[in-house]
Symmetry: C2
Subunit: 352 residues, 2 copies
C-alpha cells in the first residue's frame, strides 16, 4: 500500500487543469469545482464505458488513439439510444509517463467535433492506464429513447456495418503483424510480402486495424432509428452472437440469421487462415464492432445512405437459428476453444 | 496486448447482472440497456471519483470496504455542493479473483441508505482494481448549488471535523501497524503493547484506520450550508493546506489560520513520533479527510449539532498565514522531505 496521498502521486494535476482551460476556454466554466451543475431540462441519457490498457487496446498505444477510442466507444452507446451527445465526465488513471497533453488534445478535438462538452472528471496515477467516460446526451426533437426490448416477431434484422473487422485488427496487432505508430498502420513482412498480389491483403489489414483502434460511432443512423415507429437497437460491443442474443432476450423473441447475407470485411477468409482463427470466432464473437444491430417493422428499410444490410428476421421461438452456418466450416477451429454455442451466446436465451 | 475481446475476460458479466437484479429489483428498471434514461427535471449536479487499489487503498482490501469507500468519497463531493444523491453509474475494472458479490452487497446497502439508485455502469477485467463512480444529485428545495468561489474577505473559516486522522490511518496501514480484516481493525504489537497505558493509543489507531477506510460524507452539513446566504465550500480530499489554497484561489482571497484552533485527532503527537512523520505533513497535507471546509459571513456560525470548529478568517491579501505554526516544531521532519510551502500548497496562490 502506498503511504502517499493520491494527490502526491499526481503533483501536476493543477498545472494540467490550467493547461486544459487554456486549450478549451469553455472548460473553465465547468471544471472549477468538484461538481458540475448541468443546464436544466437536458441531458437525461447516460452511459459509461471504460478503456483499459492491455485489455481494450495494446499496451503503449498512442494516447491520441486512446482518447479518440474512448469517445467513440461511448458515443456508440448513445447512437444505439438515438441520443445526441451533450456532456461528458472523464476519470483518467494513468501509468507513469503517460502523455496527458497528447491524450487531451485528441480527446477535446474529437469531442468538439461531436458538440460534446467535457464538464468534469478525475485524474489519478496507476500502474495501468484506465480511462472511464460518463457520457450524457439528449434525445433530439421528434426522436425517442431507443432500447433493446422493442423488437417483435416478424421484424427485419439489420446491421449498420461489417462485423469481424475490429477483431481481425485486434488479432493482427496481438500477433505483431501490424503496429500503430505516428498515426499510421505499419505492417510486418510475414503478411505483407513484397509482391503486388498482396496489395488487397495489405489494404484489408490496414482497414481492420483502423476499425479496431478508431471505430466510427453511428450517431446519424441512431437518430434516424429514433424517428421510426418501432426499432430495437443495440451497438455491437461484445460480438454479434452475444449482442444479438441480448436484443432477442430483451425483446422476448428469437431470430433467424441468413449467414450468407452477413456483411464481412474484405479478405476475411485469407486473414483468418493466416491467423489460424476460425471465421466464426472472428466474425460472430470477435466483439468491438461498434456498429448498430437493429430491428425494424417488416416492410421498412433504412435509407441507402446508411449502407445497412438486412441479415435476418426476428422470430416467435426464442432461439437463434443460423441458416447456412455449415458453409463456413470449422477448419481453423483450434481444439479446446469454446464451441459455437458459447461463441454465439446461445446460453442467454436458455438461461437457468 | 490481449488477443481476447474484453468480454471474454469477464464471461460472467451477464450472470452477475442477473444476480444484481435479484438483489435489487429496482435495478432491473435501469440496467437492461447500455444507456439509462433519467427522469425529467432532476439530477443536474454531477461528480466523478475513482478509487484505485494500491493508490487510494491497500492492495487486497475487503471489497466491502472498497465499495463503501467509493461511495463515501463521491458523496462527500455532493455534500460540498449542497446536493442530495439521486443516481449513480459505476465503472468497475477488477483484478482476477475480486469478489464482486461482496463488493455489490455493501455498495447497494450503502447506496440504499442514501436513497441513491445505481442506474448503469460497466464491468471489466484488469490487473489492478479500479472503481470509478459517477454520482448525480439534485439540489434540495430551498437550497443552492455550492461552490468554492463564494468566499469574501472577513468571512469566518470553518472545518466540519478533524484533519489528519485519515492520513494517520493510511500511514499506520502502510507501516503494518494495523490491518483491516473481517470488518475490524487489527493492531500489531509495536504500537499496541500490552499495558493499559497504551489503551488511548490503541483507540486512536483504530479510529484513524476507520477514518481512512470508512469516511463519513457530511451531507446534512452541506444541505444546511446550501440554505445560508453565502458559503464557499470544498471537501478536503488532497489535504487541508492544498484544498484551503484552492478555496482561496477560487474566491480571490487569502486566509489567516489559527493553528491552535485546528481540530486534530487524539494522540496525533505520539502517533506522529512513532511513525516518524512530521505533524505538519500528517495534519495539513495528509489528505482524504473528507470533511467540509467552508466560509460563512462573519457573524454566522453553524448549529452546534454539526460540531464544526472555526479555524480562521478569509483575508483581502491573497496569501495563507499560519498563526502559531512554529509551536508545532519540525522535530519529525525527515531531511529531504517537501518543505512547508509545498506541503501547504502555497504555490497555488502564487502560481506562475
Amino acid at each position: 500500500v502506498s503511504d502517499h496521498p493520491p494527490s502526491a502521486s499526481s503533483p501536476s494535476e493543477d498545472g494540467l487543469l490550467r493547461w486544459l482551460k487554456e486549450l478549451d476556454p469553455e472548460l473553465g466554466r465547468w471544471i472549477g469545482d468538484d461538481t458540475a451543475l448541468l443546464p436544466a431540462g437536458g441531458s437525461r441519457v447516460v452511459t459509461v464505458d471504460t478503456q483499459i490498457e492491455g485489455t481494450h487496446y495494446p499496451v503503449g498505444l498512442d494516447p491520441r488513439v486512446v482518447g479518440r477510442r474512448l469517445l467513440a466507444v461511448n458515443l456508440s452507446d448513445l447512437a444505439a439510444a438515438g441520443a445526441s451527445p451533450a456532456f461528458c465526465f472523464l476519470s483518467l488513471a494513468t501509468r507513469p509517463g503517460f502523455d496527458h497533453r497528447r491524450f487531451f488534445r485528441a480527446f477535446l478535438r474529437c469531442s468538439h467535433h461531436h458538440r460534446l462538452q467535457l464538464a468534469g472528471g478525475d485524474l489519478a496515477s496507476s500502474t495501468q492506464t484506465v480511462a472511464s467516460l460518463t457520457l450524457m446526451g439528449s434525445i433530439p426533437d421528434g426522436g425517442r429513447w431507443l432500447r433493446r426490448s422493442d423488437g417483435e416477431a416478424g421484424d427485419g434484422l439489420w446491421l449498420g456495418g461489417t462485423i469481424g473487422a475490429s477483431a481481425l485488427g485486434r488479432f493482427l496487432l496481438a500477433a505483431g503483424a501490424a503496429t500503430w505508430r505516428d498515426g499510421r498502420v505499419h505492417l510486418a513482412s510475414p503478411i505483407t510480402g513484397g509482391s503486388s498480389q498482396h496489395q488487397p491483403l495489405r489494404q484489408a489489414v490496414r482497414r481492420a486495424v483502423r476499425r479496431h483502434l478508431a471505430p466510427t460511432p453511428q450517431l446519424r443512423l441512431g437518430h434516424w432509428l429514433g424517428r421510426q415507429e418501432r426499432a430495437a437497437v443495440i451497438d455491437l460491443s461484445d460480438g454479434f452472437g452475444k449482442d444479438l442474443s441480448r436484443l432477442c432476450a430483451a425483446s422476448g423473441v428469437g431470430a433467424e440469421i441468413d449467414v450468407a447475407s452477413l456483411p464481412l470485411p474484405p479478405e476475411l477468409d485469407r486473414l483468418c487462415a493466416i491467423l489460424r482463427r476460425p471465421k466464426m470466432e472472428v466474425a460472430l464473437a470477435g466483439g468491438e464492432d461498434y456498429v448498430l444491430l437493429f430491428s425494424l417493422p417488416p416492410a421498412m428499410s433504412p435509407p441507402p445512405r446508411f449502407r445497412c444490410r438486412r441479415v435476418g428476421t426476428l422470430t416467435e421461438t426464442p432461439v437463434v437459428t443460423w441458416v447456412g452456418i455449415e458453409t463456413w466450416g470449422t477448419s481453423n477451429q483450434p481444439s479446446g476453444d469454446p464451441g459455437p454455442s458459447q461463441l454465439l451466446g446461445w446460453d442467454h436465451l436458455n438461461q437457468d
